[in-house]
């Protein structure tokens, strides 16, 4: 279903609401739908080239332009092998 078809369907009930306003509302609705369902998935990689580095922003990964694009991470591989998730507490502040 194209955006235009959605806008026209909505405007059948609400002819006074403009395209820009409806697009804004559709995008907010997409935010809600994405966060509820997490339907779309992807993989992305980053090369490990710097030693003594632990933290990677999601934008360091190929194809990710905004941290907001990542809803959740459920698996991480290092050199194609799955690594475990650390679930403990990091007591020292660590931003390396």
């Amino acid at each position: 279903m194209k955006q235009q078809e959605m806008i026209e369907t909505i405007q059948q009930d609400f002819p006074d609401i403009g395209e820009t306003q409806i697009r804004l509302m559709l995008n907010r609705a997409l935010d809600k739908f994405d966060s509820e369902v997490e339907l779309e998935r992807g993989t992305a990689t980053v090369s490990v080239t710097v030693d003594d580095k632990r933290r990677y922003a999601f934008t360091d990964f190929t194809g990710i332009t905004s941290n907001d694009d990542v809803l959740s991470v459920d698996r991480v591989d290092y050199n194609n092998k799955q690594i475990k998730r650390f679930t403990g507490m990091i007591e020292e502040t660590d931003i390396s």
Partner: protein, 131 residues
Amino acid sequence: MTQVAKDFDWPTNDLVYTLRDYTLVVAKWDYVKDKLTSLDSSELTTGDTIRIHYAKKSLRFTADLTASPSFPSEFHEAPMYRVLQQLHASKGNVQQALYYKAEYKECVMMAKKYKNRGKDDSNYSINQHSY
């Protein structure tokens, strides 16, 4: 410990990841010091890569009116139903608002079923256990 990144056994306990402050932390667990430590240069090799498997946002609408949502077509009505629900609610049309809310919820339920069948490449399995 040397060459952890290349030679660790599966499953490994010493190389772990966690998420903090919206960043990914990949580090070794130091059993002696009870802390996470970075891989050092002796443990890195050219070509080492980290890959994440993640749930991502779908595409957002722009001025291109011919664009469609990037998720499967059977759920395209979901955002439209949500907008109709909100607009009818704002006008006090309770019956219509409830109708579109139900339609939206059905789309969400169907999409969750679709996802759990693995058609979106995610893994969903139930491990068998004996008691």
